[in-house]
Symmetry: C2
Subunit: 648 residues, 2 copies
């Protein structure tokens, strides 16, 4: 190419003028198209380089590695020992005691019979233990997904009058939630869940927790006729509307006293980390105590609502209950996608948090396949959507779990419960389940995180509160929609209105920095240095062009007013400009022709590899003149300044 | 704040160690919330600082400036003189001769009677001349918007059997197109049209031109029964299906000979810029010649289709034809938004192109208000959507137009034509109109731009071809949808997978650059320097964290294999990191805890103002240690290296 020889200009140019050593701008090795395409695809979908361990290995070893990639248990299982098992056993028993009452409560949130909650803590954790890569996550039904599923499903079928269809749709949704999760993993599209920002998740979770807490007022106050809407206004109307004839004082007494007990245990565990097991065991103890109490006093005859009946025995198959055709397939599909995505977000966030605490890697895409597989199998064995639970995972971690074996232990306990113990839950009052749920979801209202978000980033706070208020005052779907929309708006704002800054030289250095951040930095006479803080794309190219011209106009007016020499060189510091597209190059050409009219020369400093490639492809360096691209701003100033002095 | 005193660490630290002068990292002046919010709003919506001229002016002058802002003619009109008028007169007459045959043809594309095309070159240019800020744009109906409007309208009403409703819906759509344009201008949301990238516009325009050209085969070949679909497959079936009985050879002879004439004139004008007026005048001459020819030979009796009748007289009012209620209001609203946006894109692109050629500013938002106002008035005076025409604006520019007065001249000529000359067009053959349209839209197939796009940016090329093929093989709406989707996908990819690079020191300097771009750059032993090329947001924070850890893992493996000292410091060059949010800070905290486990110290170089603010708000500097933030990579290396040498 003709222009390639010209790329060495600045070094030769500098030698001619005897200015200090100026390094020439790097010529990136010319990449061929296929290689470039491959690199982009690899960074987008295989950024974790999953095939690296397979390289240079014999076939048999590759097959083994492949199996291990699908079933990580084959890898860590080989180093498993009794010491690790002791940790897992204790952790497993602890989370089992926590999960049993929670499962029964959460299945109520999803408007499903209590045994389905227990089923979902039996099969999915088993599957996960074989396929998952997190060591600390505790699998099972969770509050937020149960609420979401309950809300979405009851828009389609009435959970009381159409119980059978409702149940079938729940399994269908679970099936497609699993398919969604596994598909995202297989297609390596896991990064899509990153579009729900941390701030939005905090707000959404907090809002869901408040909504769930409000829903529990039904069981907690013993109200019989309760609204089906979940927004705060409907619920409050329902609560106060039934105050004089619908509240049951015996229920309130049971609920309040055990809630106090649960919250004290939680507070104790927070104060003294070693006593975490108290808060883990108290829910089960409360269930046993209150059940015994109701049984001997026959409080159910005084209007205290009880669980009444839990099907005994393990999961029946439910393959033939899934809708594989017709309109209900579509409904289930739609609900499944939403529930699956939310489930993923929760599980992946938990996995990442604990992985970084113990410094091991959780493979997001592999994790999604594991979660997807467990939900698909779950949907065929009468389970509803299971995922990682924040509260139980934290208990699991603190109880000293070592591997996913703790999930197997929990699963076994749930199996025994289903097989032998369900009749014992007959007299369990609903109020105690409500108290357990309230005390469990209180932790999801992460006001400390919200305060930190407020301190760090106001825009994030808007997303957070938008999601929170959306869930509380409208519904979970609306809250979710608000969270996603605000997150997207932020991205669009970022790419539409990037920052620009005027640079000055920091005294005693050759470093040029933003004069707003470093007021001691001084401008170079006759030169205006502008830094553009973003890739230049179609969405911002016009803005950047006009913003630079405005900087120049303002500067020129200032110089004229103070009788200083006019601007002769405009240096654009391109370090943060990581990419440019055809619109960006058009804008640069327009900028240059405006500058030529004003008799100002355009100079570029430190364009990156990609940008330089594209500038040369478009012939832009020929347009602005040969020797106008430099490695650093300092080099550019060194070359421009002498020319100015001659003129003035 | 307690941490504020710590911000001076690096300078004092460096003095203690007697290393060369190290400037401390800048403490940005603390901004209060309201000010920050104001700045953001200003940069987003008022980036052109429209109120600057108003500052420090007396009330009466402000009122005058306000009037001038709405009617720029008050400003430039005061310096108007006879010399300028001569330029405008010639340019106006030239574009008038070009617009009359084009208007008649374009109104056929929109399935509207020919006089409506002429009406639209009478009223809208007049309004624009008073309110617009571009000096070179030529206003009137254009091919692409006519095609778009025709396609969208005929989905709702049949243009032949429901001619009255069709016409009314056209005025309704024009009204809402104007409202959309004016609203975007008033709300200063003009930047929304930037989301249609240059590449997408090139593809879309090219595709529309091909579609329009294919549509002209009806008039050009004299086919009577033609498909209503605009995609290439339907049109080709229609053309070849009627080959043996539907083509009219007399029509073909007229069409072909004049098309040859038109294209030769165009070619001539391209070769010799001075002869541009030939290509501008030839269409009208062709119309006169062919009309005369048909009139004397009575070729219309041989099956040559003619215009037949154009309503004489100027625009009748059409306010009461606009649907202001009911279902049709919604339809018109929807179509109007799309047509208005496309019209805007075209007009703003033209305005910007010519403004940068003559170095004057076109205020995008003001321009939108002018275009909106002219279309609203147009919809009430029997006009359909008018905007800036690429081909006529270029002729206007070359003919030496000085101001928008050339539009007034054109408007007067069209007025005279409507008043007195329309009966003369009775015998104008449709074939000549088709030839004129074909020769006009050929210029829109900008294959040179497409080749340049291919050279510069492959992703842009995909957007360009996607839009082109979408329009040609499906429909204008589908093409538009594809263009917008691909453009958005590009933005999302950018914010999801930013680039990272390993830096090395360039010999004989203290400059650190990407070692891929500068292979002569050398790594510093014991230190890994990573540059992150993007703001760190929720959408990429996890990727960035994991990518940095992967760089470290690969480097550590390499060092172990070659028996070199291990990495003790990880320096992150933050210059391109223009912003960070709460997810980003979370990711940094997780990164730090992983690094602590690996006994590697995290060091930051040159965080910008915003980033530094948020890092301090979150307490992150306390987490990584006091003296770990530097002004430059060189400073960071200077401070880290001695510590490494002591250890090794």
């Amino acid at each position: 190419m003709a222009h390639q020889d010209k790329r060495t200009f600045s070094s030769s140019d500098s030698q001619r003028q005897n200015v200090p050593y100026i390094h020439k701008v790097g010529i990136p090795p010319k990449q061929d198209l296929l290689k470039e395409f491959k690199t982009t695809v690899k960074e987008t979908f295989f950024s974790d380089d999953p095939l690296r361990p397979f390289k240079d290995q014999p076939k048999s070893r590759q097959a083994m590695l492949g199996l291990q990639a699908i079933f990580p248990i084959l890898e860590w299982g080989r180093n498993y020992n009794l010491k690790k098992f002791r940790g897992d056993l204790i952790a497993g028993l602890t989370i089992a005691s926590l999960c049993i009452p929670q499962d029964i409560g959460y299945s109520k949130l999803a408007n499903l019979p209590p045994q389905i909650g227990l089923y979902s803590s039996f099969v999915p954790p088993l599957i996960y233990a074989f396929m998952g890569s997190s060591r600390d996550i505790a699998i099972g039904p969770v509050a937020v997904v149960s609420l979401l599923l309950g809300t979405l499903l009851q828009n389609e079928f009435d959970p009381v009058n159409n119980a059978a269809e409702y149940r079938r749709l729940a399994f269908t949704a679970t099936f497609f939630a699993g398919i969604t999760q596994a598909t995202l993993g297989v297609l390596r599209l896991g990064f899509l869940i990153d579009f729900l920002s941390h701030a939005a998740v905090v707000g959404f979770m907090g809002g869901a927790a408040v909504t769930i807490g409000l829903q529990q007022l039904k069981g907690f106050l013993g109200i019989k006729h309760f609204t089906k809407n979940a927004d705060i206004i409907s619920v409050m109307k329902s609560v106060f509307g039934s105050m004089h004839h619908g509240w049951n004082w015996e229920t309130i007494v049971i609920g309040t006293s055990f809630l106090a007990l649960l919250l004290s245990a939680k507070y104790l565990a927070k104060k003294k980390k070693k006593l975490f097991w108290v808060s883990a065991i108290v829910p089960l103890i409360s269930v046993i105590l209150s059940t015994f109490f109701v049984y001997i006093t026959h409080a159910e005859k005084e209007g205290v609502a009880i669980v009444k009946h839990i099907e005994q025995g393990i999961n029946p198959p439910s393959v033939n209950e899934i809708y594989f055709s017709g309109e209900n397939l579509l409904k289930g599909f739609r609900i499944g996608i939403v529930a699956g995505m939310i489930g993923l977000t929760e599980a992946v966030a938990i996995g990442r948090t604990f992985a970084s605490m113990k410094d091991y890697q959780v493979d997001g895409n592999k994790e999604m396949i594991a979660l997807g597989a467990m939900n698909v199998v779950g949907s065929m064995t009468s389970c509803y959507v299971a995922t990682g639970s924040f509260s139980r995972s934290a208990v699991n971690y603190m109880a000293g779990c070592q591997t996913a074996v703790s999930n197997i232990v929990m699963s076994c306990v749930v199996f025994l419960t289903l097989k032998f113990l369900t009749p014992l839950f007959e007299y369990t009052p609903n109020a105690i389940l409500s108290s357990i749920i309230i005390s469990a979801v209180i932790g999801l209202v992460d006001y400390e995180a919200a305060i930190l978000i407020w301190k760090i980033d106001k825009f994030d706070f808007v997303a957070c509160m938008g999601a929170f208020l959306g869930v509380v005052f409208a519904s979970v779907e609306i809250g979710l929609l608000i969270a996603v929309s605000i997150s997207f708006a932020k991205i669009l704002l970022q790419v539409t209105r990037p920052r620009t800054a005027i640079l000055g030289r920091i005294p005693m250095t050759s470093v040029y920095r933003n004069i707003q951040q470093y007021p001691e930095a001084t401008k170079v006479p006759g030169v205006l240095i502008v830094r553009v803080d973003s890739a230049i794309y179609f969405s911002n190219s016009n803005y950047i062009k006009e913003r630079i011209l405005r900087w120049l106009t303002v500067e020129e007016e200032h110089l004229r007013a103070t009788y200083q020499p006019r601007v002769q060189f405009l240096i654009i510091e391109m370090s943060p400009v990581t990419d440019i597209d055809t619109s960006g190059i058009n804008a640069f050409e327009e900028l240059n022709s405006s500058l030529v009219k004003r008799d100002v020369q355009l100079v570029l400093a430190n364009p990156g590899r990609l940008v330089l490639d594209k500038l040369y492809a478009s012939g832009f360096p020929d347009l602005i003149g040969d020797n106008k691209i430099f490695l650093t701003v300092a080099d550019a100033v060194l070359t421009c300044s002498p020319k100015i002095l001659q003129e003035v």
